[in-house]
Amino acid sequence: MDQKKLDHLLTRFYQGESSLEEEALLESYFSGDVPKAYQKDKQLFLALSSTYPEELDERLERFMKKEVAKQRNKKTFFLKSLIPYAAAVIIMAFGIHFYREQTKAPQQELTVEEAYNHTYQALQTISCKLNKGNKEIALAMNKQTDAVQRVLNKVNLKK
């Protein structure tokens, strides 16, 4: 095979564009003696064409199955180890909820009469406090008006 054709085939091979026939051609070429410049290519083709042990597939499959099983066991073990903690948290949450429910003030149902009395008293209390506040405001305003008047009188006297 001339160098030009060889280079062309190798370029196609490395670019992943070579056909099966071209690859076979390259393989048969590199099985013999090649110039020094192509020694590395030869090594690659020899490695590619070398056969692997027959039981390799089987061994690989077994290995992968083992790994998958290991991963699964790890996950199940992790989830299983969480169960007691989850149970403890649920029990605690129930306990807190139960305690809170128990500490709630007991509510009595009111009769219509009691409701009327309470409503009346509430309105009465509010009215009473409002009036008291109002009186105090009026009183404070009167006091302030008196004080201002006194100051004004003094100023007028000085004039």
């Binding site: 969480l82 403890a88 948290v89 605690m92 309470h118 509010i126 409002l130 506040g133």
Partner: protein, 152 residues
């Protein structure tokens, strides 16, 4: 140690919301031990005879607009806690008092909180050294309706 850390993390994750310092509703103060509560809802208010007058003051305008009444009262220890928690709630509501009066150790503050329709609140918060009383009126009333309770 490997087991303790995830356990602590789990407990913290699930229980932290229970201890979060959230702002309470006024009605939640009824849970304080020793606090007496009277809650009158709309259904019960509809059943009672109309209160047109209280001590000669016309209450017709206000009582017709009431949706609910909540009365809370606490003495001694309960008063201290009730007062403290109410102060926190009022702080969170960010409302200015309508009226503040202090008389012989009794401090009374009144608030009007505007909410959505029918959800306005009038709050009377009365504090004495050993007693705290809270009255909350809820309804569609306005401050003008409240002012009808003042003697003209």
């Amino acid at each position: 140690m490997k087991k303790i850390i995830p356990l602590l993390l789990l407990i913290l994750t699930f229980t932290s919301p229970l201890y979060a310092q959230k702002v309470k509703e006024i009605s939640e103060l009824s849970k304080i031990k020793g606090v007496t509560v009277v809650q009158i809802n709309k259904q019960l208010l509809n059943l009672i005879p109309k209160i047109d007058q209280v001590n000669g003051i016309d209450t017709n305008q206000l009582s017709g607009k009431l949706e609910s009444i909540l009365i809370l009262n606490g003495e001694d220890k309960a008063a201290t806690q009730l007062g403290k928690e109410m102060q926190l709630i009022l702080k969170s509501l960010k409302v200015e008092p309508l009226l503040y009066a202090s008389d012989e150790g009794e401090e009374t503050t009144m608030y009007y909180v505007e909410g959505s329709k029918k959800e306005n609140q009038f709050i009377l918060f009365s504090q004495e050294p050993d007693e705290v009383s809270i009255i909350v009126l809820k309804g569609s009333f306005t401050p003008q309706d409240i002012s009808t309770l003042v003697n003209k």
